[in-house]
């Protein structure tokens, strides 16, 4: 295939794109299954991510990424009935990545130019912060995850342990430490 010298664009030619794999018969069904799952749980997953990362735009991106991961791995899931657990795990993993990146950026603030990497979705961010929510956000990541699963999603200790892939004992102790920290942060009643 020739590239014409008269074209405005004279970038080096690139070969025909053969990278896109042909569609497989299961792809459409997989897409539908994943879509149904996420249509049902999209809102709750975004809300969960919001609790973790603090702004809606990032929360949506995290859930979107989780959605894509789940789709790619749908046919490899051992039990597709556990897809929601997988999705929650993927969302929490995504939140961890976001928080890690923020930490790195904060450490390099002053050396890295550019706008703040996260943060100010005025409509939905923690606009009515309370002491409790502020304290929640300052907890270590694992404590936040455990408390969100236990007290926002009302998951049992066993389910929380399964989702986070930690022991039930670790769930109990982490929750206990987190609750203690929150209690200490609340103003003492006179």
């Amino acid at each position: 295939m020739e590239t014409d010298s008269a074209d405005v664009i004279r970038s080096p030619g690139t070969p025909l794109d053969r990278a896109a794999p042909p569609a497989t018969p299961g792809a459409a069904e997989s897409a539908r299954s994943v879509t149904e799952l996420f249509t049902e749980h999209h809102l709750s997953l975004v809300r969960l991510a919001l609790l973790m990362v603090g702004d809606l735009a990032t929360a949506e991106d995290v859930v979107q990424d989780a959605f894509e991961q789940l789709h790619r791995r749908w046919r490899g899931l051992r039990r597709q009935s556990s897809a929601l657990d997988y999705a929650r795990s993927a969302v929490l993993n995504g939140c961890r990545s976001v928080l890690r990146r923020r930490l790195v950026v904060r450490r390099h603030e002053g050396r890295i130019a550019g706008p703040a990497p996260y943060g100010t979705d005025a409509a939905v961010a923690f606009e009515q912060r309370t002491v409790l929510i502020d304290a929640f956000r300052s907890l270590p990541r694992r404590q936040r995850e455990v408390l969100a699963l236990r007290y926002y999603l009302d998951m049992s200790v066993a389910d929380t342990a399964a989702t986070l892939r930690i022991s039930e004992g670790a769930v109990r102790s982490t929750a206990s430490r987190g609750l203690d920290a929150l209690a200490r942060a609340l103003p003492k009643e006179p």
């Binding site: 020739e2 590239t3 074209d7 664009i9 794109d17 569609a23 809102l43 919001l50 706008p115 926002y152």
Partner: protein, 411 residues
């Protein structure tokens, strides 16, 4: 539940509930898979044809049929792009040249210069459904060679292509009224090739002031023109994007932007609107918003509705980080249900690094340029220029290979 736990439960729920369903962007399916619902249509149609044929044979007995049946859907044979070339006959000034290429090979089969009083001439273009001709619009062709006329002299030409891809001469169509001082965003031919939709903004009167938005439908057979307009209001003026037809010659879709203010020309994309040309009235603002800008991530650059009206193919871009002088531009092509709800199907994503010098043009290299009459094959640019099989989600690059500037073309 002890008080701290109950308190935490209530607070987490309160914060989480600040997110309501209507705020969320739809999820996107990053799958280059087939559009199964479309795939079933030809299967059903084929089954129906076979059933009818079998019944006919059973009833009437065998008789000779046509020599050959139509082949499967294929990409349009030729596509048209535009380039600027210095023309010695014009003192070396750049003139616009239409370049015809074979869609299968990308080979140039012919070129045609479009010479007007502008160097180079700005053009609009639409492909005709016959796969052999294009309508090209431009301002005031230099018929006298001396005098520049006003912008109301917008003219359309038909460019026919021979079976081997050789372009003929530009044949001027009768002059059709386009609002004075109009800036044309794009044109599109209806599926039967008789109606030409024209999107424009035009200045209301000779005095400077906010422009009005217009969509016209010109009947190329009768010369009849119908126009819908939207004047500036609420402190904004509006700008419709290139039109596309759906539901035969009834519906016209176009992107819709509003200005920051009557004096600030920075535009904000609102989404995609649909105009029902069968409905009474001439108010363009009565067109219906079918896809909000929030339906996709990033800024909508262009959008075309599929001929069956089911989906809108959109090109978007976003910069990461936003607002910086250097970073990554993410160009994306996605198919969004025209019904306004349902998952978004992302067909292609490309990224490139940008600097302050390259940001402007990289943002413009995400485009949906043209859909074939079946709505299956789209001429697109997602950094690279090429065509996209919407059913298979497969992209094939075509010349002019570009990840450096916007390409303007149709098929």
């Amino acid at each position: 539940m002890p008080p701290i736990e109950a308190l935490l439960h209530d607070e987490l729920k309160r914060v989480a509930d600040t997110v309501q369903p209507g705020q969320l962007r739809p999820l996107q399916v990053h799958v280059p898979g087939r559009r199964w619902h479309r795939r079933l249509l030809p299967v059903a149609a084929a089954a129906a044809v076979i059933a009818v044929a079998v019944a006919a044979v059973l009833v009437a007995g065998p008789k000779p049929g046509p020599a050959s049946a139509p082949g499967p859907a294929a990409i349009p044979r030729y596509y048209l792009t535009f380039t600027y070339v210095p023309d010695q006959a014009q003192q070396g000034l750049p003139v616009t040249e239409a370049v015809v290429r074979d869609s299968a090979t990308g080979r140039i089969t012919g070129t045609v210069k479009i010479v007007t009083d502008d160097f180079p001439a700005p053009v609009t273009v639409a492909a005709a459904p016959d796969d052999r001709s294009f309508i090209i619009g431009t301002y005031e062709p230099d018929r006298t060679g001396t005098q520049r006329t006003s912008y109301q002299e917008y003219r359309f030409f038909r460019l026919s292509i021979s079976a081997v891809g050789r372009p003929g001469r530009l044949a001027e169509l009768p002059a059709y009224p386009v609002p004075m001082y109009a800036f044309l965003a794009g044109i599109a031919l209806s599926p039967d090739g008789t109606l030409l939709a024209v999107s424009s903004t035009y200045r209301v009167g000779p005095q400077p002031g906010p422009p009005a938005a217009a969509v016209e439908v010109i009947n190329l057979v009768t010369g009849k023109v119908r126009i819908w307009t939207a004047a500036a209001q609420h402190g904004h003026y509006y700008e419709p994007g290139p039109p596309s037809w759906a539901d035969g010659d009834r519906m016209i879709a176009f992107t819709w932007q509003h200005s920051q203010s009557l004096t600030n020309d920075n535009m904000t994309m609102e989404g995609v609107r649909l105009l029902d040309t069968d409905a009474p009235g001439d108010n363009l603002a009565d067109s219906r918003m079918i896809v909000s800008r929030k339906a996709v991530s990033g800024t909508i650059q262009s959008a075309l509705i599929t001929p069956d009206g089911r989906d809108v193919l959109m090109a978007t871009f976003r910069n990461v980080p936003s607002g910086g002088n250097r970073g990554t531009v993410i160009a994306q092509l996605a198919e969004v249900p025209a019904a306004g709800s349902g998952p978004v199907r992302v067909l292609r994503t490309e990224t490139a690094r940008y600097t302050v010098n390259t940001k402007g043009y990289l943002d413009g290299t995400s485009q949906v340029l043209s859909l074939d009459p079946t709505g299956r094959y789209a001429l697109v640019q997602c950094l690279q220029f090429g065509w996209l099989d919407l059913d298979l989600g497969r992209f094939t690059s075509l010349p002019p290979y570009s990840s450096q500037a916007a390409v303007w073309g149709v098929w």
